[in-house]
Symmetry: C2
Subunit: 339 residues, 2 copies
Amino acid sequence: MKAKVNARLADVARAAGVSLSTASRALADPQLVHERTRARVREAAAMLGYLPHGAARALATRRSRTIGAVFPPVDNPIFAAATQALAHELASRNYTLLLATHEYDPGAELAAARALLERGVDGLVLVGMDHDPELYRMLAQSGVPYELAWSVDPAGYQHCVGVAHRLASVRLTQHLLDLGHRRFAAVAGRTARNDRARDRLAGTREALASHGLELPAERVVETEFSVGHGRRALRDLLERAPGFTAVVCGNDLLAIGALHECARRGIAVPRDMSVAGFDDIEMAAVATPALTTVHVPAADIGRLAAERMLARLAGEHVASVEELRVELIVRESTGRAPA
Amino acid sequence: MKAKVNARLADVARAAGVSLSTASRALADPQLVHERTRARVREAAAMLGYLPHGAARALATRRSRTIGAVFPPVDNPIFAAATQALAHELASRNYTLLLATHEYDPGAELAAARALLERGVDGLVLVGMDHDPELYRMLAQSGVPYELAWSVDPAGYQHCVGVAHRLASVRLTQHLLDLGHRRFAAVAGRTARNDRARDRLAGTREALASHGLELPAERVVETEFSVGHGRRALRDLLERAPGFTAVVCGNDLLAIGALHECARRGIAVPRDMSVAGFDDIEMAAVATPALTTVHVPAADIGRLAAERMLARLAGEHVASVEELRVELIVRESTGRAPA
DNA sequence: TGGACGAATGAAAGCGCTTGCAGCGAGGCT
DNA sequence: AGCCTCGCTGCAAGCGCTTTCATTCGTCCA
């Protein structure tokens, strides 16, 4: 099957017996041409199976109708949900999503962002605030608008749509304190290049501090966000520094892993141990026991990132920071501290 | 902050004191220019923070280094895993993923595919074999190579990378038959425009038929792929036509929902009821009880779709159909039929 | 009836890059 | 010494579209 070259606009114009410019206008800005002509052009286009050539259009208009997103691995359910919402919202406005992912590796993130910028995205969605300074430089120079999702900039300087992780974490930890827990452990995500993970851990520390408690180093592990890592982390904690009654996890995946490890060891949750997650992924509600967590509206974040971006591209004014409400979801995995 | 216009290749050329063509070659095909010149061009490009203009390049080369994927909602973990693998693999070869999703709606899929084609993707990845004939027409006319992921074309006509859903489903159902089950129910996905869902259900029917059994209409429900729908489906089945001892679910999300509904009703799994899923998502292993399912290597499918596509673009020969092994994973949610 | 105006169309100049072709020395060969 | 070859570079023609500006023609009003 030979790849026959696609019809160009010039072919459509010829078939319709009009000039190139008229054909272009007939398709792009219909009220500029006479209805009769417009119909002829439409017909010719349909007959030839004409598909506009996006690169040529982008070159001429300096718009690609394409938005880029540089995300952490989208097999994490929260990023999957956000990606889905983002793509869906963009598609409904006739924009398309250019997706790049990175494994929390700043070098890879920079490279991915550069690749998207080179592809001519009209806007860029990034996750969180921690980025390579070179990335910020590149963004500034390119002049491409960007949204930082998930976090909120306390300084209000960056365009963000996200939640207050630290505060939410304070509230969650407070819930455990209220239940009488005093000896805590934490299974955190990697905090190095991740402001969300850092803020969540900081929130826990802050809540504890306000009760004169602290999180000893041997009761904290930082690890990758996955069920398997959560399980392993809890095992390590239990071997290294047992005696805690509550585990605060960096997200629900880690918490579900922790739950599973408890089950394997016959530790009854929440009787012997309370476990808390973060994010409220779909599986949190059906875990056994159902997971106490903080609801983060991941899909809303994705949708709003798209909406805000498109509004900005349309020249509308958009508040630089949009903070979404989070909610403490108390289920069955947390309970009174054992006596 | 005024969006200063980015440096063009002409600016780089001027700064380096060479012609446009030399600058172009220095960056694209370094061995064509003298080392000294190349260094000057590189330096000038770096100094100006030059970012190539993808649309212009695409226009000139008829290549966008962009692959499109039209996926069902990527908040389904298997599509998330595949998307992740796909994006990752593409990025490693300096390609980028243009992602569009649709809610199992053929019209939306067609529109999404058209949008990607207009954006000039070099290749397209679709899911399954059931597509609007108009889509196939468009693909043929555009000459853009495409891969159908998840399914395998028995006719070997289409380029596919996937698994044999029907056979896997036969095997899974056989496992339940071996455990002595004779009264079955099925919570299937929507089969209308979904050959995978259809094949899975057909496989169950086939296995039953080989034992002279069948799946009465009132013991089958078709629904959306989600935990909530799985729960509701099982409830409906239980109310409409109780008495079955095994439920075969269209995927793990549905199965986990079914599991949850059983737990709520105090139906002991697997003592009173066996539940089987499909896909082997991460959560299947940590569900309570752990889910018996069929392992589908979703990430491999994504990765291979990318590899195959890039190989084809490079002119290499690629077997038209690549069938991946599936594996029956027996865990705790299936057991001997109650007496 | 003439002039002004507006609607509809066309001609042509880019958008920023790649690439075929040609030019130009320098060096090797006969 | 003359010719050819070869490595390097530059010129210029597109790639397929949008958009400005000019042109034409019909209409309306004075």
